[in-house]
Amino acid sequence: MKFGVIRFPGTCDDVDAQLAAGRVGDAELLWHRDRDLRGVDAVIVPGGFSYGDYLRAGAIARFAPVMSQVIEFAHAGGLVFGICNGFQILCEAGLLPGALLVNDHLKFVFRQVNLDVVDADTAFTRSCPPRLSIPVKHTTGRYYSPTPVQVVLRYSAGENPNGSQDDIAGVINAEGNVFGMMPHPEHAVDPLTGSSDGLRMFESIRASVEARVGAGA
């Protein structure tokens, strides 16, 4: 299978995401001006500071030419995975509910956190154990939604790094094909850097794509 990793001006985790996805499949970078997703099977919107986070994190990236293709891909049922700034972009684009606000303590936070996989029956978590150790690094990660959402990941008890509502770390859309999370699984794919738990998420996506192909979808 082939992953497509979007690169906006200001994206900085695109290469890590490409390397992580490359451990389980093929992975290529897609430029923000592209109007063609080049036949990828899943799209990753990676972390960073797209368009300098001007106005609000993700607000400008949402209108990039490639995003109209990503939105079309998502509406057709394609798997879209937003990480950190990618999560913010998917919320701004209306592909996911809610919004990300500045951390309650106003500081940049960078540390390893434990995550509870509260829904392992999704296309993005089917290969995950009940608990994951994955780093967070952000200033704007406080999740908020005025309406109920489908939670997939929560920060484990006492580990909420940003004041997120109900310890929410990752949410999925009602259709189950668009998923966003603040922690960085692409930075946790090798025991050398402390954890390879993040790889399970990329493996989950591959398994989901293969199951779809196998089912003739």
Partner: protein
Amino acid sequence: MRARVLIRPKAGILDPQGQAVERALPALGFSGVANVHVGRLVELDVDDASQLPGMCERLLANPLIEDYEIIEGVAAHS
């Protein structure tokens, strides 16, 4: 026409920037300060002011977490 858009955090949503400023003022000796909120100001020249609400809804503000107020016909920026 020159217009000004004021964007504020929605009431009820934690505003840590406002809280930080509120705590900082007494530390400088200013007393009797309460309910501080920090928002954003956008000034712009527009030909058609009727487009301003749409601009706010779609880009300038995130209506989920922010309220906006449009003030039309303000003095030009120097």
